[in-house]
Symmetry: D2
Subunit: 430 residues, 4 copies
């Protein structure tokens, strides 16, 4: 039986104050959509079926190489992080899975951890390995790379860590392993581009070989940081070629902040799907680099265009359509729970808007080279305020109409600030 | 028998004034290189064997959508362009091939054109098709795309034009077809990303099917311009996946100005080679977009790093190594002959510097994670002033020690300004 | 008496079909806004008072250096362009002024032209000079610059052209001169950065001296194109320093596509206002460079954030607030009238959303470092579908509820295709 | 009396092995330069007078938010850092000053610290304040900004810290205060752009008021990081306007990695000089963002172009020319001493090349719009291998011909690894 962190009564009371307004807005939107032949209840049904995972590490305050500014009540272990994730899901009802990171989330009894999560209403998403940091007592340093390291023992250590992550994931009930490596260089000449990739592919294939039949290996590319001259899997081209070499269970994961400036990310999504390798997403937003800002906070239209591709892909599955969705953000200046509540709403809203696109009109305009009407088909959907649909879906599932308001009313963080031990200052590394 | 445009005596006289200085510098460099075990004569031999093609259209002054400022004596047809290209090769001795563009360079008798070029000491490089403009009297407009157009008759027209280019190329003695399309969109929704690519691949495969056995089809990708929201072959990822679908004769062509900001182009070169699809280069330089500036004028170090990959690739051919090299620039503010002379020297110089890299030292440093020494292996080679080697190679082949000085002494352009008809103002399209 | 191009009956009939739906949506939105204390009628009033100019040249199809694809019925002179602009204003009722460009729009009798515009319901916005192209018969070429040219006679010619533009503007009733120069370089070393600016400032000060008392000189900066290494007024820093040197009537004009990648444009707007130099805008959108795409088509959220600054600036005028608004786009793939109708709606919509921001809540959140609620104050306004307010404002002024539908129903372009002479192919300059 | 860390004999012995080769190369270069009228001895004299400061914090290994990989023998306090800086200067003889950072380098007796440095042959450069991190026991957090913080007590604390830095600097013999703040936002709406700047200017003016007469306040701008939506002093435009408001002792500091992609940094240098506000440099290199890579390792040509502006500025001082030069890099993958040795050589080499530009030829070409020859004037100088001049200057001052070789022969780091306490793993903040 689930035991959720917040009082259901508190949520119900908060909702009660908004119920009439929500009904009014929902009905008005329903009439508006009906005029164009859209049944709002059908959209509500699809929205109710949508979900996105949250990362365990996202529950803590993030930082930069310059500083980390902790907040009172931050979680400091996987148990506290799970509790915070349960709050997010209790209010939003769209984040029922947590994506763990190892060794950060390591415990002695993973069966118990799975139980603990289930009690909080949570399941487990993709498992994330970590070979971009050294851990105390680790035999070989990742200072010069991990899966692509020149040193064979280092590569072996990285392979074994990934295989251990798969094993943990099996215990938790995951079916995806996300592999992101920071491997790369800071100087021209530091490594040979081709040999580095050869080593990466050789090591990654050993991890791949350890995947259970129903698992996928999600390769996450990134242009730069921590490496600042070259990165071994730096772009979607490298990612998909690596995934092709590894085999059918290898797919590509798109993080919205890991691309070169100006790149058309929604087209990359379409390309990956077209070639059968779209594995999933790390949602966030960015203005400059891998800023890990809140999803949709900077460029919500881009997020909508990504979901437009996803809805289109679902309708044209080609080699299948089963992407994994996760939030991956660094909450440097906000309460992480609030940021993930807000982000989950932004993501779900873009999904809802993409559902509202009149695809017949869109395709007809595309087929007749009617550029303006093709664009308008997207723009009309984007302009719609879908908040009432999202709120209705939450209420129906036990969540809050106004998630941030309900969270603040709960005084959850203040209570945790009493209970939890303080986090130290991030020293900053310049 | 060849008949070159400039007086051999003039070149010889100009060279005579620099001969002693060149000998002194060459000998000093030879002694310096000998100290690190490098035989300057061996480098000279490799440099003497290097060449890069020039584009026929590069002989004319370029422009922007805002304006074109012609110069007196500009060529206005393929015959005059060939003559200018012959000047470039006569002085530089590294540009013995011309790359034609159709229909711009269309003539009634291609056998005669081949003869004409041979008399000028010139052969023919990759043939370029043009489906980014409409020609007078053309049946179907490319306003909405060419190989990827929604309209089947338009695609067919584009296919047939490419096949005609192959046929012309056979008559000229070419073995490469370079395909660049401007196809893309200016609005989200304008076209479906996946269906556009499907159409492109279908049409391109018809062109591919018409390739003679010893020909290659070089796919040129570009991020943006003329399309400003999406481009069908926008990046090396799309290019290599398309080349994979088309078959072994399809390769990828890298234009140095066609990438997203900050992208590591030398790594892309290495990736294309690693996966057997490096077809060739369009050399130029850029600061902002597809600026088509003179090769090496903005970032000569990047050009060196590209050649470092090429020398490395030649030593590790994997699936072969036979890239096609061409200059592709827009000479908006200089005499195009001067820009191509200067650019050919910059390109050859980077090739020479890449040859001077102590690869044993580089590889040893890479293998021992000695980052600083790996970098220094490249930096030492890059710092060397290789001008004496290039000049020696030119002199030995009949070219000029100081190519720009000899060209100016010849007063070639002033003579052509008397002979050739004037070019009209480019009106500018804003 | 005004004589507008489209039939008022046609518009009225089209509107009649949407009237009930509009009332329903408007009322629902009114109730929603009332719940947060906003009077929709007050917003409607502000929207009704909003306007943005259109550029005469925007009425023609644009192009790139590669090609221009004309459409039947394009205007080929200022009279036809005025007629098209009148259509835009008749339907949208927010574009009552036209911004002319000289010598493109030169006529023999400007008083008559002013009359002609007035009859069409149009006035005149900022006058634009052109020193980035050579005109047939021009004494001195701008190939090496205009206001910053090394050659004194060329600078003098550019100064005189600008002064002539002021004189024309006086006849038309304008009070702003917009100065954009393409001056810059394609090579390091081509010009001395400091001396170029000295020359620019000296020449610009002569233009400034010719300004009537109630005129402003709007300096438009641009990062690159047509110059690809450096541009004399390349960024807002150069622009504001130049404006400071010139004097109080010199202000800075922001074109949304003229900035470096990733730059925070809304902050630039705030900075220019903070230092008393915000002169106006050229609205468009871009993904890569100066793409001149339709306003809000790529990043509508950025456009909203710009208007958020403008509303904030109006409330905090410091040294005054009187920005000039104009659309400046290149309509390469659409009917220019449709693009400007759609763009005017996008711009007005962002203005309306910015009005809906709860500024008390925003400021309170800012003052208490409540980052999430400050962001939500903006996001709530941005999410609102303001289309009903815009439509109501249009209807009240005689415009169309659905501007694109009404335009298509009018078959205006098809009629003009019968009447007007065809435009030639843009040859393209590569 | 100075006591330098390395054995002078070891350096002399290492030099002896290269002395003949250096003489040969230097003489050959001298003859080559003499042919164009350049006296190599005069250049040597200028190079001998050149210097660049090193930052105390640069002596430690850097890192990213993901990880820091320490090396054995890293310094952990200002005394050890000074010793390492003394090694750099002993070998390179161009880095005689250290730039301290507070509170990182705080000691109880600054007079003693100044003595300690002097004994190591070192003086003190600009003092750096730190208000981007919280220190243990600090009264007010900088989580929401420092000089621009909403909270008055926080601003006051930041002002006082800067004034304390000035006081420490006076004791050390510095005359510059460098102010970089990380203040900014991660969300639209988080702060009001204008009011943030107002607060910054108000607080900065209090710091300015505390400057001794012969001091300067160097404002360092940065586009992003640690703030990822906006930064209070984000670009040179904001920086120079702030410096104008503060007064004549306020100048702008250019860090080569703090700009938007593609920006022309050498033009910014020229602009700052043109308007009398060029204060100094933080030298490093970057490919993507504030990568803090080794100077000249990615784009050495850009570094040369910057020095070309500096030499030009020195010849045209307008309002004076006295920039402060410092290396500011993050040595994540190398021995920091090696990186700073290599970087100091790269910087000095670019200065030397800029001296070799034939300025008469350059100016003549600029004045006659001879673009190609203007460019060639720069290119000829850039192509020269100036290593012999640099080495001669070092030898004459007691430094090493091959700085990296001599450093490695000294086994300095290995000895320090025995003596110094180990540095902990950087945990990484994701």
């Amino acid at each position: 039986m689930t035991q959720l962190p917040l009082s259901a009564d508190l949520i119900a009371e908060a909702n009660a104050r908004h119920a009439d307004a929500l009904d009014e807005d929902y009905d008005a939107l329903g009439r508006k959509l009906a005029r164009t032949g859209i049944d709002i209840e059908a959209v509500l049904g699809r929205v109710a079926g949508f979900s996105v995972a949250v990362p365990s590490w996202g529950a803590g305050r993030g930082g930069t190489r310059f500083a980390k500014f902790p907040i009172p009540g931050e979680p400091t272990n996987i148990h506290e992080k799970l509790e915070d994730c349960a709050v997010i899901n209790q209010l939003s009802r769209v984040t029922p899975r947590v994506s763990p990171h190892f060794p950060w989330d390591k415990v002695s009894d993973f069966a118990a951890l799975r139980e603990e999560a289930a009690t909080l209403g949570l399941g487990w998403d993709a498992v994330n390995s970590n070979t971009f940091q050294d851990q105390r007592g680790q035999a070989h340093t990742y200072a010069n790379g991990s899966l692509s390291a020149q040193d064979a023992a280092t590569r072996q250590q990285a392979v074994e860590h990934n295989i251990e992550c798969i094993e943990i994931g099996r215990q938790l009930g995951s079916t995806d392993l996300t592999v992101w490596v920071g491997d790369g260089t800071n100087f021209p000449g530091q490594q040979d581009f081709a040999r580095s990739l050869d080593r990466y592919l050789d090591a990654a294939s050993q991890v791949y070989a350890a995947l259970p039949d129903d698992w996928r290996m999600l390769l996450e590319h990134k242009m730069f940081e921590p490496a600042f001259y070259s990165t071994v899997i730096s772009d979607w081209g490298s990612s998909i070629l690596a995934a092709q070499e590894l085999g059918p269970k290898a797919k590509c994961l798109v993080d919205l902040g890991h691309h070169a400036p100006n790149v058309n990310i929604e087209q990359i999504v379409a390309r990956l799907h077209r070639f059968g390798k779209l594995g999933g997403f790390h949602f966030n937003d960015s203005k400059y680099g891998d800023d890990d800002l809140d999803s949709g906070s900077i460029n919500p239209h881009q997020l909508f265009l990504v979901f437009n591709e996803l809805v289109e892909a679902e309708l044209n599955p080609r080699d299948g359509f089963n992407p994994s969705y996760m939030i991956d953000q660094s909450h440097n200046v906000t309460d992480p729970i609030e940021s993930m509540l807000s982000s989950a709403e932004a993501i779900t809203g873009c999904f809802a808007k993409a559902l509202l696109v009149d695809r017949d009109a869109l395709h007809a305009a595309q087929e007749s080279n009617d550029t303006m009407m093709a664009f308008q088909a997207l723009r009309r959907a984007y302009s719609i305020d879908v908040a009432p649909i999202l709120a209705k879906a939450r209420v129906a599932a036990g969540g809050a109409i106004d998630v941030l308001e309900a969270y603040r009313l709960s005084q959850y963080r203040a209570r945790k600030a009493q209970e939890r031990k303080a986090v130290g200052l991030g020293a900053g590394i310049v």
